[in-house]
């Protein structure tokens, strides 16, 4: 085969490059010698004549080599070596470019890894993820409350959908993964478990690595089988990938399960949250609530997925599913307005309301891109400066016969090399930032994979390569168009021509404008966060510590109540504790609505903004929470059972019921219209009960001693600043003795309870401020570089000025003016851009409008100050030019 002959030859040359060169040498020498023999008649310098006739042997050797595939490898190697030496000669330039570009790309790689995971990429290991749809419920009632769709189902609804659709469309239910403990030998390991219907693995089209998945008869509620499927990762981690795992009994907390299968490699469930162990839904361990077991209760414990292969089946799914839901005999609260919706498996792409953290991240993605643009402009500028400072060198090379493609090749090789070097910085930065971003934005997700995986790495290196190519083209074009005669003229230092000067200036303007936009964004989000933080919650969250019980088992409730009461007593006696009380609810962590009757009115009172809500408290509750008393008194030990019934209302309720009059001494009937008249003894400040930002419903308080049937399972404690940490520890230790199971209780500071609500605001502020700062630094480097370079080019002019009597101040002013003129154009454009873009973020702000003048002015002034500082250093240097030296050097 002659095609193979050719390939074999090429391969041989590639593998024996050096040897082949020697062969070629030898062959040519042979030729020269034979020619030499032919000319033997002329023995005097025959070889010279042979050479003269035949030309330069080295040149021919090169020509032969140029025909082989070695030539372009040679060329790349040569160009890369040349570029590398060039970069090593200017370490400051190289490091600046690598750092700038590395940070710019790195921020984006981190954002990309996050957004890709959350929005785009289906969970790892799922087969045919496109056909798997997530199911959602929607109802007009929920929609009116701002919930377009929700993805959780009661067991009754799971069953209804399975029975109606199961024969044509596989549907499955599962519970979101939760943490548990597995005992392996002597050691306890924390793992995450999920409870699934038997169709689960079929919907996802998965095949077990070994063993099998659940059979239908293993998930019968009446007859739960204790069987488990474990993840491949857990199998390898804890069981050394031993096939004997099948049939082995594992212990999860106190329950024992027999392992029947190992899930396929990489599969860790269908959500970002990792799953290690799958159990049949029939073993779902939630205790009964309100006397109903979990499978009959109204608890929305489950999520649902379905495999829909065709559009026709999709129509069927929504139509038949909706019908099944509306007419569901298993439903505790039948709702004929319900409808079934579907969305992609990736939850963020679905119809339900976007998690606020995820929404923040999408916006930040755009901001990260702006940072990359700034970094790009910066690097382009620096490369152009470098190219123009190398004009002489390039002109000499061209004079020596470098071809234009070769010159382009060399210059672009250099920028590509820079790009690739910065991709290393970018990856390191992305590993750190990507992990930080996950922890910051979705702290409760237990990710199955690292933030930077092969895909992110490949994309990062690819982007760095492309940016390297693009960023090098303009400087290369500039150098290639150098006119030799001009460049080689001695003293022709005023290099950058009009065109490249204009490009440099526009890049500076762009940088300044983008930086101003980011600064305005940072200002807006920091101000919003500040505003949210300073909202008066009605209580004082600093130093407020809480204990909440999650025990749902009626039989244990009396024990919890009495133990908690004793615990509150002991806490009150601790040094550093100002007050401790018990209550039915803690603000932001649970609430109750209740009827309230006003004498003379038959129907229960309803406040237009919802409520009123009720809380049962012991004396000291207001002191402990810091809820301020407006009038009257709080509860005392005197308000005991049998004493005159009393009630405390908040200011909102007071002003709604008795506008313009004092509420004290008024009568209210809580619970029923026939209840005993409770006298209002105090009015307190209204409290934000559900959300930090809300129009709060009014609330009233009843002394628990006068309502003995009510369960008080929360404790509020006010500790002095210095005693917070030790009080928290003491509280945890105390609760542990009462409720040994960690999942039955929570000890939290009020700050921790508020955290999920403050988080998006804080995230916006932190991320915007961080990126804004990054942009500012990068822009400052860019301005400094350009001004410093242009000053070094104009040192002759400065020498003349100084010789003619200019003072240092005049020179500094001149430099400042030349730099700031450009920056101010950028600032004006940036403010314009910020005003345009502001509308997009207006809905994400709190208490500040996008065109807030103080923030716009602040951003402009900051940018000006930074640009001025960046100009000062080259300015001072220019002012110190020694006229004699600078004039002589020309």
């Amino acid at each position: 085969m002659s095609l193979l002959d050719g390939l074999r030859h090429r391969l041989y040359v590639l593998r024996h490059g050096e040897a082949y060169s020697l062969e070629t040498d030898r062959e040519l020498r042979f030729h020269v010698e034979l020619t030499h023999l032919a000319y033997k008649r002329d023995t005097i310098d025959a070889e010279l004549r042979a050479r003269k006739t035949l030309g330069n042997a080295t040149y021919y050797r090169e020509e032969v080599r140029a025909m082989t595939p070695l030539s372009w490898i040679d060329r790349i190697r040569q160009d890369a070596g040349y570029a590398w030496r060039g970069l090593l000669r200017t370490p400051a330039f190289t490091l600046t470019v690598i750092a700038t570009l590395g940070l710019g790309i790195g921020v984006n790689a981190a954002m990309y890894s996050f957004l890709d995971r959350v929005f785009v990429r289906p969970p790892a290991g799922v087969v045919g993820a496109d056909a798997v749809r997530r199911l959602y419920l929607a109802s007009p009632d929920q929609a009116s409350r701002g919930v377009p769709a929700y993805g959780s189902f009661t067991y009754g609804r799971v069953v209804a959908l399975r029975e109606r659709l199961g024969d044509t469309i596989p549907v499955a239910g599962y519970s979101p993964s939760g943490g548990t403990l597995i005992r392996v030998g002597e050691s306890l390991d924390s793992v995450r478990q999920t409870f699934v219907t038997p169709e689960y693995f079929g919907v996802l089209r998965l095949q077990p690595t070994i063993g099998r998945f659940f059979a239908a008869e293993e998930s019968v509620i009446a007859d739960p089988r204790m069987v488990a499927v474990i993840s491949e990762e857990l199998w390898r981690r804890s069981f050394a990938a031993s096939p004997s795992i099948i049939g082995r009994v594992i212990e999860l907390k106190t329950r024992r399960f027999t392992v029947i299968g190992v899930a396929p490699r990489d599969f860790t469930g269908v959500e970002a949250n990792r799953v290690d162990i799958w159990l049949p839904m029939s073993t779902f361990p939630v205790p009964p609530s309100n006397g109903r077991p979990w499978y009959q209760s109204g608890g929305n414990y489950f999520r649902m997925i379905a495999r829909v292969e065709t559009p026709a089946l999709m129509t069927k799914l929504t139509a038949a599913g909706t019908a099944a839901l509306r007419n569901n005999p298993l439903d505790l609260r039948p709702d004929t307005t319900l409808s079934l919706l579907t969305g992609p498996l990736t939850e963020a792409g679905g119809p339900s309301k976007l998690d606020s953290n995820v929404a923040v991240s999408a916006r930040i993605g755009a901001v990260a891109f702006i940072v990359l643009l700034i970094a790009y402009a910066n690097v382009a500028n620096m490369l152009m400066l470098r190219a123009s400072s190398r004009r002489r060198e390039i002109a000499v090379r061209r004079a020596l016969g470098v071809s234009t493609p070769r010159l382009y090749g060399q210059l672009i090789t250099e920028s590509v090399l820079l790009g690739l070097l910065s991709s290393a910085v970018a990856l390191l930065f992305a590993m750190w930032a990507g992990t930080a971003l996950r922890r910051l934005l979705l702290p409760n997700v237990h990710w199955a994979t690292a933030a930077v995986d092969m895909r992110v790495t490949a994309v990062t290196i690819g982007v760095a390569f492309v940016i390297g190519c693009i960023v090098g083209i303009f400087p290369a074009a500039m150098s290639a168009s150098v006119r030799l005669s001009d460049a080689l003229k001695l003293g022709a230092k005023h290099s950058s021509g009009g065109r490249s000067r204009r490009v440099q200036t526009s890049l500076l303007v762009l940088q300044a404008a983008l930086s101003v936009i980011l600064l305005v964004g940072a200002g807006l989000f920091v101000r919003s966060f500040d505003n949210v933080r300073s909202i008066d919650l009605g209580y004082d969250p600093d130093g407020l510590l809480t204990v909440t019980s999650y025990v749902q088992d009626k039989s244990r409730e009396p024990m919890v109540a009495s133990s908690f009461a004793q615990m509150a007593e002991r806490l009150r006696a601790r040094p550093g504790v100002v007050a401790a009380a018990m209550s039915a609810n803690v603000p932001m962590a649970g609430n109750m609505f209740s009827w309230l009757f006003v004498p003379g009115n038959d129907s229960a009172y309803r406040h237009p903004s919802g409520g009123p809500t009720i809380n049962y408290v012991t004396p000291g509750y207001f002191e402990a929470t810091g809820v301020r008393l407006v009038a009257g008194r709080g509860f005392t030990a005197e308000d005991r059972a049998g004493a005159a019934p009393v009630i405390v209302v908040d200011a909102r309720l007071a002003s709604a019921l008795w506008p313009g009059r004092s509420a004290l001494g008024q009568c209210l009937r809580p619970g029923t219209a026939t209840a005993a008249c409770a006298t209002v003894v105090g009015v307190v400040e209204g409290v934000q009960q559900f959300r930090v930002i809300e129009s709060t419903a009014p609330q009233y308080y009843l002394p628990s001693a006068q309502h003995p049937g009510v369960l008080l399972d929360a404790i509020v404690v006010r500790a002095e600043g210095g005693a917070v940490a030790q009080t928290l520890t003491a509280m945890r230790n105390e609760v542990r003795t009462i409720l040994p199971d960690q999942s039955d209780w929570a000890v939290r500071t009020m700050g921790q309870i508020l955290e999920p609500q403050m988080r998006p605001w804080r995230m916006g502020a932190i991320l915007f401020a961080g990126l804004g700062l990054l942009a500012l630094v990068v822009a400052a480097i860019g301005i400094y570089g350009v001004v410093a370079y242009s000053m070094s080019q104009r040192s002759h002019e400065m020498g003349v000025r100084i010789a003619l009597g200019a003072q240092a101040k005049d020179i500094v002013d001149l430099v400042l003016a030349s730099g700031l003129r450009v920056v101010i154009v950028g600032i004006v454009l940036g403010i314009g851009g910020a005003l345009l873009l502001g509308r997009l973020v207006a809905s994400q702000l709190f208490g500040v409008v996008p065109n807030d003048p103080s923030i716009l002015i602040g951003a402009a002034v900051t940018m000006c100050a930074i640009a001025g500082a960046a100009c000062l250093i080259p300015g001072w240097r220019a002012a110190r030019v020694d006229p004699v030296t600078s004039l002589r050097s020309e």
Partner: protein
Amino acid sequence: MPPTAKSDVLLGTLEMLILRTLTLGSLHGYAIAQHIAKSSDGVLQVEQGSLYPALERLLNKGWVTAKWAESPTKRQARYYTITASGKKQLRDKTSDYDRVALAIARVMGRV
């Protein structure tokens, strides 16, 4: 800079001449050049700078193979041999050449 650009026709022609020469048997580079020069009465002088790159191209295409062997003067020389696909290529090129040569002759009014 020495001239390197040669038109496709010329490159193709040199390759054709080399392939044709190699139908006589395995030859080293110098012998190929000598044969072309002799059989053209010294009109076609193939320079090293054209010959060896052309041979390299032919090697890459798999139309010839090369092997080191002893020359009649007891020196090691690289001998080139035409392959089957080289022969086929030669036939194609020859018929192309005949057509073009005839066409040119017609235009010049020589036929």
